[in-house]
Each structure stands twice: as structure tokens, then as C-alpha cells.
């Protein structure tokens, strides 16, 4: 009996311990927020707070809705139907993911701004002046919603597609024999069954939209994120900034609780032993081409136009700005992204499996709180890493001085270890969502069978789950890889001396308002992200459970 308890506690302790460690940056924010702040709150409430709240909520809802509107139909078309170009659209639809949000904002502003080529052509062509025509202002809240939705919809697309591919063919075929047409099958059968995946995708998208700083700041849209930095940088009040950040995180936590609650009853395990690849429904003729066009639209606006603009700029500026350091930048970016992705995968696997093994409230809450960092602006997470790490360094140093008379200096601060930790704290949820979704599709009876045959919990994970989860794990690794490749704020603050990445370089030039000069580096990020994106799509196509069993 005692042995059982000790084992139980080991798993719970491990999972709760790791989860709390990863929640450290967020906890730091809350601790900082507990200090009394100056008179800033009164001022904010009197002036800009309503704007911040209103804009943040609208941004979140708008981007979520936009991502659903683009991602779900695209996923439904490519996963269950056959039409011209379907095979390459399947992966090409993921490409916008590789473009950092602020980069797409810059490129569209360059094109659609009053001084840009589109409006200039219109004015020249029709001899208009400023008062003669109305043109939607790109640098506005709706503009920000469109920009973010264009680069974030792939999260929804990805998860929706996996869910559609995964749905039991039997259910779809039954609905077909009962005479349901394609529309009815979509909204009455496919959509409700995919709901957990859709909500998971939308919540990722919304968290990322709330954390965005580059786009909204450039567009002059006041949100919680811009407010945090305004209070911190402009008013020198880091406590009030932490309180704003804490408020944002509480809001996100509520969102996550709601997400859990909304899928409280939804449990989807595969009931049968085998699934067969559903026969794709062919769209013939006009309908087929219509489907092609529908999938081309997000690809065009989310990838082809901005990447085209970047290419044009890069063509002109690359000879001036690309020098011998370029390869080092590329190597740094790729290695950092790969290292972080693998590390985060292991952590996500540990937390996801620990949660399955010990579904206690304490474990579940700890794992939830570890995922909060995703919704915080990267800078806030970075500061949340910096403060406790520096405190740890200081106390180790003081201890070493006292007992051995030597100074250990900074052991963690300013090293890549601190940076990797920040990535883990920030991007864990991306991997965790994927791992959890995969695990939830494995029937618990599998675990029971393996345990009954004498396997340890760890053995079940490595010998049963991991092989079955190949697709989900690959998805997790590649998503995090692309995210870290694009990551800027934490890299900027925490990186060691003389260490740069592509994202840092692109940002430095762009923030100096040399957009064209930053294009070669932005393009390199996009190109480095494309490979993984293609791999990712293939992995999902192949890794449907039961697929290998098809004779």
C-alpha cells in the first residue's frame, strides 16, 4: 500500500513541480503586481482604460472569428473533398504561419497606405485628391484584425483538419445514407464533432492576438499590450505595468476555464478498432474550381502578396545588408528553434501524460497555469524569467562567497539557458494542445491493457503512446519550431553577448524604419519556416490513427 502511494506521489509531484516551474514567469508577474502602484490607475481609468479593454476584446473576438471563417472551410474542403490543386493547397494553406505578424503588417501598410502604390495609382488614374474618395484605412483596428487573422488562421486550419480527417467514417457515411447533403453533413455532423479541436485552435489564436505588440503598436491601436509598455516605458511605473499584465492574464485564465468547461462533456475516443480513409467527395467542374479559388484566397493574401513584396524588397537590398554574418544568424535561429522545440516537446509529453495518469484537480490546475505564458506579451514573460533567475544567481553567489570566498557571478542570467527557459514558458501550450489532443484520442483501455501486461507507467508512455502519437508529436515540434523562429521580444532581452538571430536582425532594421533593408532577413525566416510547414502537413496526412492498419 505504501509503495503505491509513493509512486502516485512521485508522478503528481513531478508534474506539479515542472508545471509550477514553467509558470514561474507568470507567477512573478502576479507577485510584482501585488505591490502598491502609484496614481496611474486613476489616470488610466479616467483616460484610456476603456479604449484598451474595448480594443483588446474586439481584437480577440475579431481575430478568432476571422481565423474560424478562413480556417474551418479550408480545412473542411481539403480534408474531405477532392478538387483541382487539393494536394498542394493542403500544405500551402499553412504557409502564412511562417510570416511574423508585424512583418505582414508592414508589408500591407507599404502597399495600401495613402502614400503606397495602390492609392497613388488610384489617385493618378482618376485624378482624385484626398477628399475625393474613401479607402479603408489599413492601420486601424479592423486592419489589425485582418492582419492577425491572415497569419494566425493556420492554427485553426491545422487542428480542424486533423479533427475532420480523424472523424469516424462510419458516422459520415451513416449521415450520407440518411440523405444528408454536403452542407448538412458539414454543419450537423462534421462541425459539432470537431468542436473541441476548433475551440482549442481559436483559443491559441486569441491568446496570440492578445499578446501581439508589434502590429497594434504600428497601427496606433491602443490595447492592453500597448498599455503595458506605455505605463512601463512612458510613465516609468513597472508595478502598474505588472498589474495591467496580471489583469490580462486573469482574463485569459477565465477564457481557458471557459474553454475547458465548454468541452466538459465532449469525450472522443475511437470506438472501433479500425478506421478507413473516408472516400473524398469529388467536386466536379465549376464547383471544383470554386473550391480551389476559395482555398487560394487566404493563401494569396496571407502569403503570396506579403512574401512577394518581401522578395521585391530583398532583391534590391540584399547586396547591401547581407554580409558574412548571415550564416551565423541563420545557424543561431535554426539551432535555437530546434533545441527549444525538442525540449518543449518533452515537457509537453510529460505534462500531458502526467495529467492523464493523475487526473486530479491539483495536477490539472498546475498544468493549466503553466500554459498562461502564451497569452502574455513576450517581453513580460522575459522579465518574469529574468527576475527570478537573477535572484537565484544572487543567492548562489552570496552563498558561495560566504562559504568558499569565491564569487560564482551570473550562472543563468544572460545565458542561452535562460532564453530556452523563456521559450518553454511561452510556447508550452502550443505543444501541449497538440499532445493532449493526441492523447485524448487514445482509448484509456489501451493503457489498462499495457499495465495489465506488466508495463510501468513510463513504459506505457514510451512503448504505447509515443509510437501512436507520432503525428501529434511532429505537429507539436514543428509548430514550436516555427514559433521560436519568429520569436522576438524574449530573444531580444535575454540573449547573451554577441548573439543575434534572424528575427532580431529583421526587427532592428524594421524598427529603424528601414523596411526594405529588413526584408532579406524576414524572407529568410519565412523560407526557414516553409520546410517544417510542408513536413507538418505531410505528417498529419499520414498519421491518422488506424491508417497503418488499413490493408
Amino acid at each position: 500500500m505504501r509503495g503505491v502511494w509513493a509512486r502516485t506521489d512521485r508522478w503528481s509531484l513531478l508534474v506539479v513541480g515542472v508545471a509550477l516551474l514553467l509558470a514561474l514567469p507568470v507567477l512573478t508577474v502576479f507577485v510584482t503586481a501585488l505591490q502598491p502602484a502609484g496614481a496611474v490607475w486613476r489616470h488610466l481609468a479616467d483616460t484610456v482604460l476603456t479604449d484598451y479593454v474595448g480594443n483588446s476584446v474586439l481584437l480577440m473576438l475579431g481575430v478568432g472569428a476571422g481565423a474560424l471563417l478562413i480556417g474551418v472551410p479550408a480545412a473542411w474542403l481539403t480534408s474531405l473533398h477532392e478538387f483541382p490543386g487539393r494536394r498542394w493547397l493542403e500544405w500551402a494553406l499553412l504557409l502564412p504561419m511562417a510570416i511574423p505578424a508585424y512583418i505582414i503588417a508592414y508589408t500591407y501598410t507599404g502597399l495600401l497606405d495613402f502614400a503606397g502604390p495602390v492609392q497613388t495609382l488610384l489617385r493618378a488614374g482618376f485624378h482624385w485628391t484626398r477628399q475625393d474618395y474613401g479607402f479603408p484605412e489599413i492601420r486601424s483596428l479592423p486592419g489589425a484584425v485582418v492582419m492577425l487573422a491572415l497569419v494566425l488562421y493556420p492554427y485553426v486550419y491545422l487542428l480542424a483538419r486533423a479533427a475532420f480527417l480523424d472523424q469516424s467514417v462510419a458516422v459520415l457515411e451513416v449521415s450520407r445514407t440518411l440523405g444528408a447533403g454536403p452542407w448538412r453533413r458539414f454543419y450537423a455532423v462534421s462541425l459539432p464533432m470537431a468542436r473541441p479541436a476548433l475551440i482549442a485552435g481559436v483559443s491559441l489564436v486569441q491568446m496570440e492576438a492578445l499578446a501581439d505588440y508589434g502590429t497594434v503598436q504600428y497601427f496606433g491601436v491602443g490595447t492592453f499590450t500597448t498599455g503595458i509598455f506605455r505605463v512601463w516605458y512612458g510613465m516609468n511605473d513597472s508595478t502598474a505595468a505588472a498589474q495591467l499584465a496580471a489583469l490580462l492574464l486573469l482574463f485569459v485564465f477565465a477564457l481557458l476555464v471557459f474553454e475547458r468547461w465548454s468541452r466538459r462533456r465532449a469525450r472522443f475516443h475511437h470506438a472501433g478498432n479500425r478506421q478507413y480513409r473516408p472516400a473524398r467527395l469529388s467536386f466536379a467542374g465549376r464547383w471544383g474550381w470554386l473550391a480551389t479559388v476559395a482555398c487560394l484566397v487566404p493563401l494569396l493574401f496571407g502569403f503570396l502578396i506579403p512574401a512577394g513584396q518581401l522578395t521585391v524588397w530583398a532583391w534590391r537590398t540584399a547586396p547591401h545588408v547581407v554580409d558574412g554574418r548571415f550564416l551565423a544568424l541563420l545557424a543561431n535561429s535554426l539551432l535555437l528553434a530546434l533545441g527549444a522545440a525538442l525540449l518543449i516537446l518533452l515537457l509537453a509529453l510529460l505534462l500531458g501524460y502526467g495529467q492523464r495518469l493523475r487526473p486530479r484537480p491539483l495536477v490539472r490546475w498546475a498544468v493549466r497555469s503553466a500554459g498562461l505564458g502564451y497569452a502574455a506579451p513576450g517581453t513580460v514573460v522575459a522579465i518574469g524569467v529574468m527576475l527570478p533567475f537573477a535572484a537565484l544567481d544572487r543567492s548562489v553567489d552570496a552563498w558561495a562567497r560566504q562559504w568558499f570566498g569565491v564569487s560564482t557571478g551570473l550562472l543563468l542570467s544572460g545565458t542561452l539557458a535562460a532564453l530556452l527557459f523563456a521559450y518553454c514558458a511561452r510556447f508550452l501550450p502550443v505543444a501541449l494542445h497538440s499532445v493532449e489532443a493526441g492523447l485524448s484520442r487514445i482509448r484509456p483501455s489501451m493503457d489498462d491493457a499495457a499495465r495489465a501486461l506488466g508495463s510501468t507507467p513510463r513504459g506505457v508512455l514510451w512503448r504505447v503512446h509515443v509510437p501512436m502519437l507520432r503525428g501529434s508529436l511532429l505537429t507539436a515540434v514543428l509548430l514550436v519550431f516555427v514559433d521560436v523562429l519568429k520569436e522576438l521580444p524574449a530573444t531580444l532581452i535575454l540573449r547573451p553577448f554577441n548573439f543575434n538571430t534572424l528575427a532580431v536582425r529583421a526587427y532592428e532594421l524594421a524598427s529603424d524604419e528601414r523596411l526594405a533593408d529588413s526584408a532579406p532577413f524576414a524572407l529568410a525566416i519565412v523560407l526557414a519556416g516553409i520546410g517544417p510547414v510542408i513536413l507538418l502537413s505531410r505528417a498529419i496526412g499520414r498519421a491518422r490513427p488506424g491508417y497503418d492498419a488499413v490493408p
Binding site: 492601420r139 503598436q217 512601463w232
Partner: protein, 344 residues
């Protein structure tokens, strides 16, 4: 990719990563720099310094506040010897936070005018950035312009493009106005200015200049080096836009044009204090000062050094004589004031 292979792979990846951080050390020792100036705008100077002195310079760039926070949290163990910012207010804040120390050198005292440095030597200005009025050559006569205050006049209704009040350049400008005219008067001015905006504030300084050139508005404020960058751009469209815009130096009869400095201070716990002072000396030397002017169209802080040809073409101006440290002190008040005035 299966997991056992991942776990075999991970240590080697981490090993590779960590081998990347070992910095090359030159024979003459090293000095560590936290810089809010972008790498492109400081690295060439640092390379020259290393060549001349044999002292290696290790560099981290980032945003002012983040670097300051990093410096503070690292405390006595900080590796940084020198903090370089692109705004005097941040240096004053660093001094107040106790992370800088006072240093003196004859070269620094001789080259940097008193209003561009801390009286006790906690920090020194390295380059001067001016924020004049820019206007559309074809639609505005320079005689119509006079002062910053004048931009709040209703005659400019719908004619002014402005960057967001998130920009530290605008915050610092308003801080300067508060120092000269007091809060009440400045707030009334800011409200008048906001009422004249052609569109809600957005974009960077170059975007404002392009908007003036394209005819979206007639007048804006921008730091001169952005216009200089456009004049010398590799992009013809930027060059053409810059040609349509002229510089007006406001407040010539009164308080002078708003200026701020980029500058640096030696950290309180610097391990390489002497090297850091040497680097400061170098950054105010004739060659380095000329570099600021030629490469980024900033004004040399040393009055003996002539500005670049691009800068000369815009004429001479009277700079505000206010000590730039005051701008940092009043920055929070300026931000609150702009919030109240509805300056987004």
C-alpha cells in the same frame, strides 16, 4: 522522428548552442556593452575601437527599459560595463536607479557641452537628434510656420500628420514643452494640436514624411535622421518623397528646436571601468563624431565637428538649451498629459 532519437540528439544540440556563446577575446582585454542603439548604428564604431586599442567589445542590443531592467536585476554581478541609450531621459532614469557611476575624463569634459551631459559625470551625450517641423514644399510657405505652439492654431485643421504618443520622441518633445511652458499651457496646446490631426496617429517617422509628400497632410514633426535616411535611400520612391519635403527650424526666436541625445554611462559595478571610459572617449572623438553625422545624419555632440553634407543643406538652427536630463524627469507627466489630450 521518434523520441529515443530526440533524446540522443538533444544534448548535442544544446552543446552546439552553448559553444556559440563563447566570445572571442582580444589580447587587450574586453569591455561589455548594453546598447539601445541598433547594432547597425554602433557596431562599426566598436569595431574601429577594437582595431585601435586591441580591446574587444561584447555587445547586446535591446530596448532601453529592458536593458535597464536587466542591469538592475543582475545587480553587482552584472557583466555590463557601459549602458548606451538613444534617449537622455533613460540615462537619467538609470542614474536614479543607482546602476551608473560617475566618471570623469578631460576629453569628455572638453568635447561634450554641459547641457548634453550629467553635471557629475554619470552619463555623457554622444550624438544630438533634432525634431524640427517638416512641411510640403508645394503647399506650405516657410513664412506660415513659426513655432511648435503655432501648430495648434486652427488654420492647420486637418493638415497635420503625427506619430503616436507611444513614440518616445513625441513624449520627450512634450516633456520639453512642459519644462518651458508649464503643464496647463502645454495641455491646452496638445488639445489644439490633436484637433488639427489629419488622421489618427499611426506609423513611424518615415511614414509621416511619406504622408506629407503624398499629400495626405501638409506638416509633421520628425527626427532629422529619418529624413536624411530617405534622402540617401536606395529606394527611388523614398528619395522622391524626401525631395518634396522641407525642414523648418521652429522656435528660433524663443526656446529653440527640441533636441535629445543618445548617450552612455558607465555602470556602477563595471569590471572594466577604465576600458569603458576609454570607449566613451573614443565615441566622442573626431572620427567617431563624424561617423554619427555621415552614417546616420545625427548632429555631432562636439560643436567643433561639422555636420554631414545632408545636414548642412537644411541650414543651421538654434537648439533648445534645456538640460536633456529634464526631459526624462518630465516624461511620465508628458505621457499622462497626452492621454488627457486624446493624443492616441
Amino acid at each position: 522522428m521518434s523520441l529515443p532519437s530526440i533524446s540522443r540528439f538533444l544534448p548535442s544540440v544544446c552543446g552546439l548552442l552553448f559553444s556559440l556563446i563563447t566570445a572571442p577575446a582580444l589580447a587587450g582585454g574586453e569591455v561589455n556593452l548594453y546598447s539601445a542603439r541598433k547594432e547597425d548604428l554602433i557596431k562599426p564604431l566598436l569595431d574601429d575601437f577594437s582595431k585601435q586599442t586591441g580591446i574587444a567589445v561584447n555587445l547586446v542590443t535591446g530596448k532601453e527599459e529592458a536593458l535597464l531592467q536587466r542591469l538592475q536585476s543582475e545587480g553587482a554581478n552584472t557583466p555590463a560595463d557601459l549602458l548606451l541609450t538613444s534617449d537622455a531621459g533613460r540615462l537619467a532614469a538609470a542614474q536614479q536607479a543607482g546602476v551608473l557611476q560617475a566618471v570623469k575624463s578631460d576629453a569628455l569634459t572638453a568635447r561634450v557641452p554641459a547641457r548634453y551631459r550629467d553635471p557629475e559625470g554619470y552619463w555623457y551625450g554622444l550624438s544630438v537628434r533634432a525634431r524640427p517641423i517638416l512641411y510640403a514644399r508645394d503647399r506650405v510657405q516657410s513664412a506660415e510656420l513659426s513655432t511648435y505652439e503655432n501648430l495648434a492654431d486652427p488654420r492647420w485643421k486637418g493638415k497635420i500628420c503625427m506619430r503616436s504618443s507611444d513614440s518616445v520622441y513625441n513624449q520627450s518633445l512634450v516633456a520639453g514643452m512642459i519644462a518651458h511652458h508649464g503643464e496647463a499651457k502645454t495641455e491646452a496646446w496638445a488639445k489644439g494640436l490633436v484637433a488639427n490631426f489629419a488622421r489618427p496617429p499611426k506609423g513611424g517617422d518615415r511614414d509621416q514624411i511619406k504622408a506629407v509628400a503624398a499629400g495626405e497632410c501638409d506638416v509633421t514633426l520628425a527626427n532629422t535622421y529619418y529624413l536624411g535616411g530617405m534622402v540617401n535611400s536606395s529606394d527611388d520612391a523614398e528619395k522622391q518623397a524626401a525631395a518634396k519635403v522641407a525642414v523648418f527650424w521652429p522656435d528660433a526666436q524663443t526656446t529653440g528646436v527640441h533636441v535629445n541625445v543618445s548617450g552612455a554611462g558607465v555602470t556602477a559595478h563595471a569590471r572594466h571601468r577604465d576600458h569603458a571610459v576609454k570607449l566613451l572617449d573614443f565615441l566622442t572623438s573626431d572620427a567617431a563624431q563624424r561617423w554619427y553625422a555621415e552614417t546616420n545624419n545625427e548632429y555631432p555632440v562636439n560643436p567643433a565637428i561639422p555636420p554631414s553634407a545632408t545636414l548642412k543643406a537644411w541650414g543651421e538652427f538654434k537648439a533648445d538649451t534645456l538640460n536633456v536630463a529634464k526631459l526624462g524627469e518630465l516624461n511620465p507627466a508628458a505621457v499622462r498629459l497626452m492621454d488627457r489630450a486624446g493624443w492616441k
